[in-house]
Symmetry: D2
């Protein structure tokens, strides 16, 4: 039975990259299922994603061949086996619609690459997950205390280490991290922001939207960076609103946008479809 | 043959407004076709639009009855006869897709309430309308000269007066008006901005969008105010973009958004569907 | 404290309906919050929805006044008090995403007019609700047996009567009812169909869509009628697909469409926004 | 100055196709700009599109290398030079919004791969193009006469031959072709149908939509086949409608959908993004 793998490559632009990597897969008797590439001429940077299958006994040969090609081309590359899901820690505060949505999709088989290894909140279980069924997923309460951020982040690092978390999903987690923490999780911490950034940065975006009188509201999933609400955008979507929508209506409509935008962003990330490109992203569609 | 009319009302919130105005129409043997209302509780302000038909010989009676009801309720009201289209002056610079779209829709019967009385540009005809067939519509060239804004606005006022223009549509007109001029055309000058405001105010919004790495671009039609790009929003729309879209691609995709957003805004305005509500609008859907 | 109510009216087209009903509300010291109307000229039929508040002590006066106005105009009318939610029975088979979504929205306060009084399935609890937390909501198993439809419908009628169900929501319930049963629940039984009807009626719409090579898939919420997949449509939506989507992909994307289309249709119905108009509907937007 | 080219490949599924073709481009000192592929496992069929640049002096070498690779792999392939636009004949009847839109986009530089070589209509110029500026584009009037289809098609073949037309775009052309003619233009005759097929096949789709009470209308661009309204779909889109939309409203809203769907389909076709796959298509996004 062939085994599915995803090869991602990032390097300086130069001819022959696809030819070399696809040659490597073919030499291992592999079968290329899907290939996406993007050549960023402005940054002189090249991105490629290759989905393939190989027989299990050829996986380590493939790994060595890719290593050799990447070395020759000066490329950064990654080989991910589809059968090994990504250990994911989900953080939330009091609004559980994104958490609920992610867990439902996971239980329904829509996020096969996600393995939830814990839920973290600054509120106790009864508040953070009042409408969510966690099942066996461990819950961690990290209460917010004055001047306690350093300790809280230390505790969070402990949870990440213990659970082996590779991805951090901020599913409406309302606390700000230190710059140092953010740097340490660069490219593997996804947040959902309640506006079509760069419109309505900061607090209470729906109130801002209502005051400004816009005719659409949105949500933005982005990697977290030290610069708040400025991280590389992975996915955005919007819905129309009208003058008669109250802020409560916007919050309600917003929940639908937030949960689908975050779910898509997490799915793309887990599928190896998202690449950091300085403060932007390359996202290959599925 | 009955005659179509649109009654718009704006007043302080109070009970009985619909009852009173619909009573007036019924007493003139009129037939109410459509009614929309919005009660802005925050501003204590009420908006209503009533589309009706009356027999021509009852039109002046209707006018007097509405006058009387409005006086009694302390309401601002307007009675517009559908058979009298709105004299509209369109301004453009070098990009003619919005102008072309408006004129095509007008010729096609989609904008029966619009009567184009002229096209104004800061470029000569051959530049401003290279792909547009003006037909009988008069063209006016108002070249931009250093320190010449006052004179240019004077000339524009002259054109508006002579043509009897009631509405000014800025169809990608790239010059800024003086505060005084803007105040004088408040609520009857519509601009199309090339972004989903408040994102990407100011110059080169598509370049900004490309640099920020957003996953959607948009356009915004708004009434022009002294505060640039801050006028009351009438209509907005967006389209998805990807990392591989160049600025040229964004400009191309943007043209489609701009023309449909402007056409909708103009149509809503002409149909009496748009009300100013301080720095926001009330827009009744069609 | 004023009490919210919804007045719905359906009658032959004639002038003065809004005036009369709004007069009735004003005379009871009521406050009209929202009003929608539609005059179907082809059918000579008039539809109106009025949302208002009245003081509790005036509610019975309002009821009598409406009765009197309706009698005078020959109108069918209904007065619904917002504080009394609609008793709703949800039916499902094995796919629980719509059920899960409805219950989450209900717990989250998005469907305040819905009171779930039971869940019915042709499968046992462990199959029908494997990912759904029912809480206190009673579950009823109505297994499908050969030639057992009459008995099953008898049992269902029993459950409806006992639970006082006023609305039946088929949240991916895969069994067909008898004509007689369908007639008895006319206008209060909502189904979700997995296609943009009338495209792909019948079985396996996603397989049909894949074979036909369409570029979008959709879902349709409609009232159930004897004529399968031909009932009056309440709400529809679509999403784009591509040549590379497998049937499994369509099913996954379809789940998102199905759940939001059904949730909207149920919300509109509960808010008194949906009127039957022969084999079509009138739906006033929220 | 490098020259842009598009290589399209269609063959039986087998490993090594991308590797072989990209190797060929690299050996000619070419630069791969973009690559898309699709492996249809069900049909055991493989599709690839490669956009590249090569120096003019290497173009014929590239052509030979591709020939050789294609021969070795048993692949059908095509090399199209971007600097040579596709000779396109546009047919219309009385509704000119699609024709007008295509010509505006062409003049605006949005369809650089299209070279309009003529417009054909069953109506005279004054009727077919009353709102369209043809400029230098030749117009041909092919009036419909009883039993005259054979002659009309003969004349059309003459026009195609004389103008060297490679693509036929039916921009709301309301006449039906013979099976023989359709077979002869297979894969190079695009039609726009006024519904989201397979819903509302045949005549008067907007009337059908209104009668059925659907909540969205759409348009479908497809290759023409002998089986009317059953040709392989290239692009579809929809817009929401409501109960209050008259058939005239649907026609108006439909025009916007029709023109953007047809423009996209033509653009995709000209860019080598569309492949026939029996009675479906493979369309690589731009």
């Amino acid at each position: 039975m062939a085994q599915a793998a995803i090869i991602t490559v990032k390097c300086q632009s130069r001819p022959g990259i696809i030819a070399a990597f696809s040659q490597a897969v073919v030499e291992c008797d592999g079968d290329i299922k899907d290939i996406n590439q993007f050549n960023d001429r402005m940054q002189d940077r090249y991105f490629m994603r290759m989905a393939c299958t190989v027989r299990p006994e050829h996986m380590s040969l493939l790994s060595r061949r890719l290593e050799s090609v990447a070395g020759r081309l000066g490329a950064y590359h990654h080989l991910r086996e589809r059968q090994r899901p990504v250990r994911t820690l989900i953080m939330t505060s009091r609004f559980d619609h994104c958490l609920n949505d992610l867990l439902y999709r996971w239980r329904n088989g829509e996020l096969p690459m996600m393995q939830p290894v814990g839920v973290v909140s600054n509120h106790p279980l009864s508040v953070a997950c009042s409408r969510v069924h966690l099942g066996d997923i461990p819950f961690h309460h990290l209460p917010v205390t004055e001047d306690g951020r350093a300790e809280r982040e230390e505790a969070l690092r402990g949870i990440m280490e213990e659970s082996g978390a590779e991805l951090l999903v901020l599913a409406r987690y309302m606390q700000v991290f230190s710059d140092r923490f953010v740097r340490d999780v660069e490219g593997r911490c996804i947040n959902i922001h309640r506006s079509f950034l760069p419109g309505f940065r900061g607090q209470e975006p729906y109130r801002q939207a209502s005051l400004r009188g816009v005719k659409l509201i949105g949500a933005t999933a982005h990697y977290v960076t030290a610069d708040l609400d400025e991280g590389p955008i992975i996915e955005q979507d919007i819905e129309p609103i009208t003058h008669s929508d109250t802020i409560e209506d916007l919050v309600r409509k917003g929940r639908d946008i937030e949960r689908r935008v975050l779910a898509r962003a997490v799915r793309y990330h887990l599928d190896g479809r998202v690449f950091l490109n300085d403060d932007r992203t390359v996202v290959f569609p599925d």
